[in-house]
């Protein structure tokens, strides 16, 4: 690790300098978000008839994205909280990244049920006519609670860095105003640090059960419905493991991007990637086990509608997606993550990209084939998303990347104070600021 002032300079540099490449990236992302916004305006004007949704497959791509984004978000904070509580010494560079992914993905993911409603004003019906027996209301409560917790957690961990940054006049008025509001009179005294750490540890401890329960509630939204492919007792842990799996993979991809574009090679080292790769491998095996258990149980029972659904997945309309997910998203990444020759940064990032893609497919395969399976002896429904759903999906993915990119321009993407604490002693904020200014 670099010496303390140099370390801070490397982390603060992206806040002070904006490259043309970064601006170009932002422009492209804003363009994609704009296309998504146009798609949504089209949907608002013409109703859900412009989508591929119908009376049978009424959830489609929107709810698949909802589950996917919420999964990513859970992985982020769970990682951060678990690493912090277990006092894992290599966590320093990862936690801020994970927490920012959580907040961004949770906010954007929570928008999808509103998109799926068609009439956004009807969201209010949840409050006016909501029934506590409904898993939809539980889900709203769980996600709201989790989002609030993630924000508080992120705020607490930002305070020491905000204190370091509040004296850097080169960062401009708005950001300085924000840093001063966040840090207030933080000086980094032992008493302050102890008090803040108590709050952070408390939040980390509470966020783990909140995250697990919140994702379990999301799983129950499906599991408590008497439909093929959904009515399953393992859906809770299945979803939680899937969430951690996709969350870690996303962290790896974002880490690799910042390592490459912000030159953070000394923070995101091969060691970090390999540690995460080990976690990914464990989760991969666990998810494969759950998948096998789920499908084998259903196949062995062989009830007529279950057979219809399984046939569509295994060698029917959804077979290409299903086998792409199993082979390309679970088996191949497992090999990449465990074979020593491919346990390199490119190998691990490739595996992570495959995993994220597979987890998105998995969410689609959870939602769509079940809804398309006839509940009465009628014909199958074929769901084909239209450009509106694809543009909104692309726009949301772009919005998440844009959020993380812009966040990295407001706060160091690596927590300076935690990295410093791992490296040695905590220094008073004012001296650090002076050194940074001199540098």
């Amino acid at each position: 690790m670099e010496s303390e002032p140099n370390a801070d300079r490397v982390l603060i540099q992206p806040l002070q300098q904006t490259t043309l490449r970064f601006l170009l990236l932002c422009a492209v992302l804003i363009g994609v978000v704009g296309v998504g916004a146009f798609g949504y305006v089209t949907q608002l004007q013409n109703g859900l008839s412009v989508t591929g949704l119908n009376d049978k497959v009424s959830w489609g791509l929107y709810i698949s994205n909802f589950v996917f984004f919420i999964g990513i978000s859970y992985g982020g904070t769970l990682m951060s909280a678990i690493l912090r509580l277990t006092n894992t010494e290599w966590r320093g560079p990862i936690t801020r990244l994970a927490e920012s992914i959580t907040v961004g993905a949770l906010f954007l993911g929570a928008l999808f049920p509103i998109l799926d409603l068609g009439r956004p004003d009807r969201t209010l019906n949840l409050f006016i006519y909501g029934r506590l027996q409904s898993a939809v209301l539980w889900d709203f409560l769980a996600i709201g609670t989790y989002f609030a917790g993630a924000l508080v957690y992120l705020y607490l961990t930002l305070i020491p860095d905000a204190a370091k940054l509040r004296n850097l006049s080169s960062l401009g008025g708005v950001r300085l105003w924000l840093y001063r509001r966040l840090a207030r009179r933080w000086e980094g005294t032992p008493q302050q640090v102890a008090m803040l750490e108590r709050g952070i540890v408390l939040m980390a401890a509470i966020l783990i059960p909140v995250a697990v329960s919140a994702h379990s509630v999301l799983a129950w939204l499906f599991g408590m419905t008497l439909r093929v492919g959904w009515h399953s007792t393992i859906f809770g842990p299945f979803f939680v493991v899937g969430a951690i799996f996709s969350g870690i993979a996303t962290i790896v991809i974002v880490m690799a991007a910042f390592r490459r574009f912000f030159g953070l090679h000394r923070y995101f080292t091969l060691r970090h990637f390999q540690r995460l790769a080990t976690l990914l491998f464990v989760m991969d095996i666990a998810l494969l086990y759950f998948t096998l258990s789920e499908y084998l149980t259903v196949a062995y029972g062989a009830e007529s509608r279950d057979v219809l659904w399984l046939t569509a997945l295994m060698h029917g309309h959804y077979a290409l997606l299903f086998w792409t997910m199993i082979l390309g998203g679970f088996i191949l990444p497992a090999a990449l993550l465990i074979i020593p020759r491919t346990r390199t940064i490119p190998g691990i990032v490739t595996a992570s990209i495959l995993i994220v893609a597979a987890m998105w497919i998995e969410r689609v395969l959870i939602v769509v084939p079940t809804m398309a399976t006839p509940q009465l002896p009628f014909e199958w429904t074929i769901y084909q998303p239209t450009w509106v759903e694809w543009s909104i999906t692309a726009g949301t993915f772009a919005a998440l990347i844009l959020f993380i990119a812009l966040f990295s321009k407001v706060f160091p993407i690596v927590s300076m104070w935690e990295t410093r604490r791992r490296a040695g002693a905590e220094a008073p904020a004012e001296s650090t600021a002076e050194e940074v200014v001199r540098a």
Binding site: V152, W186, Q192, L196, E430, V437
Partner: protein, 374 residues
């Protein structure tokens, strides 16, 4: 010669095959044909109760769950006598072909019953050309609904009334000789206001008014005493179907349904066994009062019959406590969620205290920063 024969056979098959009715043919005009016998005897007594032998034809409509009985009297002008058994709180109605030749115009009769007020009727006329419906008196006719009586018990009302078929009023139905009349049944779910729209209407059906007919005989569907207790896991209900002589009717289909907040939940069709007993299992999702109905649609020379029962399902205390005692589960959830939010609040208080302690504003002034640079 043989080739000519085969060619002819092939041509015959190709020409004839497309027009052969491979599937059964159905009439698209009316769903049911019912024969109503007209005679000069006074068989029907209008008192809000249907007695064996009063009516010669019946029709149970699966859409509206209304059971209608028909009879015809030639005494003092031809009159169609009717009874309707209704589970609805609002009005029920009969739409009867108006002119002797079908042109779409309907004689509209609506009846309702309110406790304390008694039965009321509405005599209207629907003109298909203008798509307009008004009361007969508004068209220039008169009100011709006779002998209206009603009895209501446990949410089920029986109406009896008569409408003339040889009236001087051109806004009534007319069938001076034997022939066919189209009819429909309709209901309004909750509103007794006759101006309210129908909530449900049966398909268009047909009755044949004739002096030559084979009268159908009485049938009666009964609930048998329930076996077992009213449990939330399911309640077994038994039905007995008997004919006019009290003998059980085997191998007959009985439709079972349950009144929900909006309309009816179909519980399926059950068959009577050799003792005329059919069995159905109800699986309501909670405790409460349910109006359960069963209908025999007629057949085997029997009139249709319907039976209604108010089923009160009470908590037997055998259900899973956490599901049953909603308030306990909700309290636990509330405590859990409130606890989480309290931890958030405590963490924020800690952050507030940590950032509030100060030895003074440490922010260097612009001049101090510049001095350091120099």
């Amino acid at each position: 010669m043989r080739s000519v024969f085969f060619a002819a056979a092939l041509a015959f098959i190709l020409l004839i095959a497309p027009v052969i009715p491979w599937r059964p043919l159905y009439s698209s005009a009316a769903d049911t044909g019912l024969a109503v016998g007209c005679n000069s005897t006074e068989g029907v007594v209008s008192e809000g109760r249907i007695l064996p032998g009063e009516y010669s034809e019946s029709y149970f409509d699966e859409t509206t769950k209304l059971l209608a009985y028909f009879s015809c009297s030639d005494t003092d002008g031809r009159t169609l006598q009717m009874a309707i058994v209704s589970p609805w709180e609002g009005w029920v109605g009969l739409l009867l072909q108006a002119s002797e030749t079908w042109n779409g115009d309907m004689n509209v009769v609506r009846v309702s019953y309110e406790r304390g007020i008694g039965p009321r009727s509405y005599d209207g006329y629907f003109e298909s050309a203008s798509n307009t419906e008004r009361m007969d008196v508004d068209w220039g006719g008169m009100t011709d609904v006779y002998d209206l009586t009603a009895e209501s018990n446990d949410g089920v009302t029986v109406y009896e009334f008569a409408v003339p078929l040889t009236s001087d009023d051109i806004f009534d139905s007319h069938m001076t000789g034997d022939g066919f009349l189209y009819f429909q049944l309709a209901y309004s779910g909750v509103d007794v206001d006759f101006k309210s729209e129908a909530s449900g209407t049966s398909p268009l059906n047909m009755i044949q008014i004739s002096t030559q007919y084979f009268p159908k005989v009485w049938s009666e569907l009964q609930f048998l005493p329930l076996e077992g207790s009213h449990e939330r896991t399911g309640t077994e209900v038994l039905f007995l179907l008997r004919n006019d002589r009290g003998f059980s009717v085997p191998n007959a289909m009985v439709h079972v349904f349950m009144k929900a907040a909006f309309g009816f939940a179909e519980l399926g069709v059950v068959m009577t066994n050799s003792q005329g007993v059919a069995r159905a299992v109800l699986e309501p999702r909670g405790t409460g009062t349910y109006l359960v109905g069963a209908a025999f649609e007629g057949g085997q020379g029997l009139l249709a019959s319907v039976v209604w029962m108010t089923l009160v399902l009470e908590d037997t205390g055998r259900a899973l406590p956490i599901v049953d005692s909603g308030h306990i589960a909700l309290s636990l959830v509330f405590l859990g969620v409130a606890g989480v939010w309290l931890v958030y609040a405590y963490a924020l208080v800690l952050a507030h205290l940590a950032t509030a302690r100060s030895r003074g504003d440490l922010r260097p002034t612009r001049q101090q920063e510049l001095r350091k640079w120099r």
